[in-house]
Symmetry: C2
Subunit: 451 residues, 2 copies
Amino acid sequence: MQVELAKDFLPKLKEQIENNDKVSVLASMVELYANDICEIMYELDDSQAIYILEIFDDETAADIISNLEPVYRKNIFKKLETNKIALKFKYIDSDDAVDILNDIPTKEREEIISYIDDPEKVSYIIDLLHYEPNCAGGIMAKELIKANINWGISQCIDEIRRQAEKVDKIHSIYVVDDKDYLLGRVSLKKIILSNANMKIKDIYETEEFFYVESYKSKDDVAKIMEEQDLEAIPVVNVQGKLLGRITIDDVVDVIKERAELEQQLMSGISGNAEEYDSVWLQSRVRLPWLLVGMIGGLMGAKFIGLFEADLALIPAMAFFIPLITATGGNVGIQSSTVVVQSLANKSNFETGLTKRLGNLLLVGLLNGLVISLVVFLFNIALGDSLSLAIVVSISLLCVVMLSSIMGTITPIVLNKFGINPALASGPFITTANDLLGLGVYFIIAHSLLQI
Amino acid sequence: MQVELAKDFLPKLKEQIENNDKVSVLASMVELYANDICEIMYELDDSQAIYILEIFDDETAADIISNLEPVYRKNIFKKLETNKIALKFKYIDSDDAVDILNDIPTKEREEIISYIDDPEKVSYIIDLLHYEPNCAGGIMAKELIKANINWGISQCIDEIRRQAEKVDKIHSIYVVDDKDYLLGRVSLKKIILSNANMKIKDIYETEEFFYVESYKSKDDVAKIMEEQDLEAIPVVNVQGKLLGRITIDDVVDVIKERAELEQQLMSGISGNAEEYDSVWLQSRVRLPWLLVGMIGGLMGAKFIGLFEADLALIPAMAFFIPLITATGGNVGIQSSTVVVQSLANKSNFETGLTKRLGNLLLVGLLNGLVISLVVFLFNIALGDSLSLAIVVSISLLCVVMLSSIMGTITPIVLNKFGINPALASGPFITTANDLLGLGVYFIIAHSLLQI
C-alpha cells in the first residue's frame, strides 16, 4: 500500500500548480496519505505548498497540518489567513490542537482560538493549554464518551450517537457519578452484549481498571499503558474527577521521542535537534559536549606533557596513544549502553550489583585478552620492540577492564542521583576513558620501560 | 498506581514461601502486576519462583509467563511439568504463544502443544509457527471477529458473543465473503448505532481501510499503523484472504525493539545482547567492533610511525593526539546521529543533499571556530609554543569540518546500499575519524613546523 512516487512526479506537480490545474493536482495526490503530502510540501515553494493545502477540504487539510514538522508548520501558518487556519481546527482532536498551538507565538495562538467556530472545542483547548506538555494532562484529549452510573444502556447509546462524530475511536465508555468522579468503565463489547434495558451500574467494570492522575509524567503513562497493553487510559485530577483520556497513538509518539532523545544524549547532543532546525540552534546543542571533550583533550595533553622526557627518548610510545584511547572509549560505550538499556526497563528492586559487575568484568577480561593478544602478535610480526609490545598489550588489558567498570558504574551512579543515565553513554564516558587510558598507558610504560 | 515495594519485602516473602504460607504469599502480591511478579521471581531461587507461579490460577500464571524474560522463561520451563505449562497456554493469545514457543527447543515445543486442551488454539499455533518472526505473519494473532458480508447485524452480535471470551479487545469486525476474502471492516461503534435488522453489507466500510500482506516486514507494519494511528490491522495472504490481525501493543514492542537495536548498533554491539545473556554471548557480540577499532588503532600507530623523526624533535606534538582524535570522534557521532534519525523518518523523496551538506558544513565551521579559538587561547595562556598552538588549532578546525562531512555522508551512503545506517554512528565512524584526524594533524604539523 506504500505509494512509490515516480521520478517526474514533482516537476509535473509544479507544472500543474503553475497552470492552476486543480483537477490534475488533486488527481495526482488522491492515493497519498497525509504524511506523504507533507513530504511533498517540503519540496515545494511556500506559495506552492499553500496552494496544495488550500486545494483540499478542511478535514484533509487538518490531517496534513497535524502531520507537518513543527518548524515548517510555524512558518506556513505565518503565510495563511488566521480564519482559514481556524477552520481546520474543527477537525483536529483537542490534544493535537494544543500541541500545534503550543508551538506558535501567543498572539497568533490567541487569534486562531478566537476564530474557531466550535465553543466546545474552544473550551477543550483552553482547558488543555494550561497543562505541562510533559505530563499526562499535557498529552490527554478531552474527547471521550462518559456515562453516568445511573443511566440505562439505551441512554448511553444515545450519548454515543450524539458524540459519534467527535470521538473517533471509542475503546471504552467511562463511568462517572453525578459529580464527575470516575468510577469505572464499560467496553463497547459489553454494551453490545447486554440487554438494552439494563443499567450501566449493573455492567460496569472496576477490576483491572487503570487510570492516571493528570500530573503524572508522560513516561509513567507510557509505562503503564505498555505494561498493561492498554489502548486508552482515562486521566483524573487529584480528587479523582474525570478530565480526559490518553490514547495509545500518543504513547507511541512518547516512546519514539524518548528513544530519539536518548540516542541524541548518547551522541552528545544536548536538546532536541532536527535537521530542519537553524544552523545556529544545531550548533548550540552540539557545542557543550564538544567543549567537555575539548577540556578532556587539553587535560590529556597536560598529562602526556608530564612524560615529555620519556617521549623524547622513545617517540614510538606516542604511536599507540590512539589505539589505547579508542579501545577504552569503545569498551566504555558498549558497557554503558547495555546498562542504560537495562536501567530503562528497570524493576522495583536493586538487582545484585556485585553479580552484574562480576559478569561485566569477565566479559572485559575475555575481550581484553583477545585484543591484547592480537595486538601483541601484530606488533611482534611488524618488528616493533618487544618491550614496547608488552607495555602496549598489558595497558590494553587494563584499559579494557577499567573501561568496562567505568561504563557500568557511571550510568548506575547517574541514575541514583536522578540524572538520565543515557548521558553516560556519550562523550562523557569517552572523555573519562580517554584520560583513564592515557594514565594507565603512560604509567605502565614509564615503569616497565624503566626510563 | 505504581507499587513501591518495602525494603523487607523479599526476605519476608522468602520466609513465607519457606513456611508454605500460601495465604500470606498471595496476600503480599495481590496488588502487583504480572511485570512486578516477574521481577520478584528473578530475585528468587528457581524452586521459590516455581512456588510463586503455581500458587496463582492458570490465567494469572499465563500473564506472568508471557512477561518473563525469554532466557529466564526457557530455564523455568525445564523445571515445570509439561502438562502444567500447557494449561497456561489456554489463556495466552496465539501470537504471544508462538513467540514463547519459538524460543524453546523443538522437542519441548511439540510436547507442550500436544498437551494444550483446546483444538482451536492448537490449530492457531501450528498455523502461526510457520511464519518468519520478522514479518507480519510472525506477529499477527489468529484471534479476531469476522463477519460474512451477507450476515445481519444480529448474527454478527451472536458471533461476538460466541467469541467474547477468546477475543479480548475487538476494535473492528472484519468483513469477508464466503471464501474468506477480506472486503472491509465494521466498527463496534457502527454496530451499536445501527438498527438490529440491518445487514453487514449496508454498513461496512471500505474507505480508509488498511490491511497488510503476511509477508510484509514488521517494520513496515509498524510504520503504517503509526502513520495511520491504527489500533489493529488485519493481515491477508497474497490472494487477499483474511489470516489474522496485528494489534498496536505488538507494534509498540517492534518500535521499542528497533530503538534498542539501533542504540546497540551505535555503540558497537553486533546483535541483541541483554544483561541476562551469558558472559560468552556478551563477549562475542562486542568483540567484532572492538577488533575493527583495534585495526584502526594499529593503522594509526603505523601512520604516526611515519613521523617518528618529527616526534623525536618535538615530543610535544604527541600531547595533542587525544584532543584531535576525541574531537573528531565526537563531531562525527553527533552528525551521524542526526542524519540517521532523519533517515529513519525518511520520505519518498531525496531531500536536497547539497543543502543538507551546506548546512552541516556551516554548523561544523561554527563549532570548529569556537573550539579552535578556545584551545588556542588555552595553549597560549599555558605557555605552549606559538607555532604548535597554531598547528593544533588549524588542525582542529579542519578535523571538525571533515568529521562533520564524514558523519553526514557515511550513513547516507550505507543507507543507499541497503545497510542499516545506524552502523555508521558507532565505532565505525569513530575509527575512521581517528585516522582522518591523525592524518590532518600530522601533515599540517609536518608542513607548518617545517621540520
